[in-house]
Symmetry: C2
DNA sequence: AGGTTAGATAACCAAGTGGTTAGGTACGAG
DNA sequence: CTCGTACCTAACCACTTGGTTATCTAACCT
């Protein structure tokens, strides 16, 4: 799977996005990350593996803790990708684009 | 499923992103959209349904054609979400953020 | 050494995904 | 009316996903 697809797939889950949001406050242990959710440890473990494979977090080792840290690099690619559609966000731009397309067609 | 999750899930497939990219050139029929890919019609149909449910395309009716049109509104939400992580994209910002966090902690 | 805590792994389950083939509907053309 | 085209639905398949419980390792603390 390509990087962008992996990133989007990882972000398509509210729990994982909440984990990322939590990590903007700094590194956290698995236990700390799991506290806001009422799901089991293994479920969190799986979410973290998805995030790690997508390159969105890195994991260290400190005694019996495996602290997670945010790595937002892949999100830059997401933002850049989305920005390419900026001109289509607004209906007026959509109408303008339709007009431009029409003009281009009548030119030929 | 919430809007943002549905959008991310829809974007987590290269075929669907390619369809969206094609639609930036203007509306297209299902047949036209399916031409670049060597997958069956029903497979394209499913992709289009995912995109439609995510609000990324709208579908009209013209005789036996069902023209698809891009609706990039949900992508604005994606861009806004990603922008919130801009300060973490760059390692220098990450270090700065770590410093700020440390300063905030020693303050208390 | 024994107990507790953090965390991962394994095995399982229900539901979803991405694909297929087969068949159905709706419309235009001859 | 019949044929071809565009598109959808249905049924199926292999694989993935998000969750569970049970079990394991590793490290700390008495």
């Amino acid at each position: 799977m390509d990087q962008l697809s992996a990133t989007f797939a990882a972000l398509a889950d509210p729990t994982r996005r909440a984990i990322l949001a939590r990590l903007t406050d700094g590194p956290a242990t698995v236990k700390e990350l799991s506290e806001p959710f009422d799901i089991s440890g293994p479920a969190i473990s799986k979410h973290l593996r998805v995030l790690e494979k997508a390159g969105l977090i890195t994991r260290g080792r400190e005694a019996q803790w495996r602290p997670c840290q945010l790595d937002a690099t892949p999100l830059k690619e997401v933002a850049v990708w989305a920005e390419n559609y900026r001109r289509f966000w607004d209906a007026s731009y959509t109408r303008l684009d339709a007009l431009l397309t029409e003009m281009k067609e009548t030119e030929q």
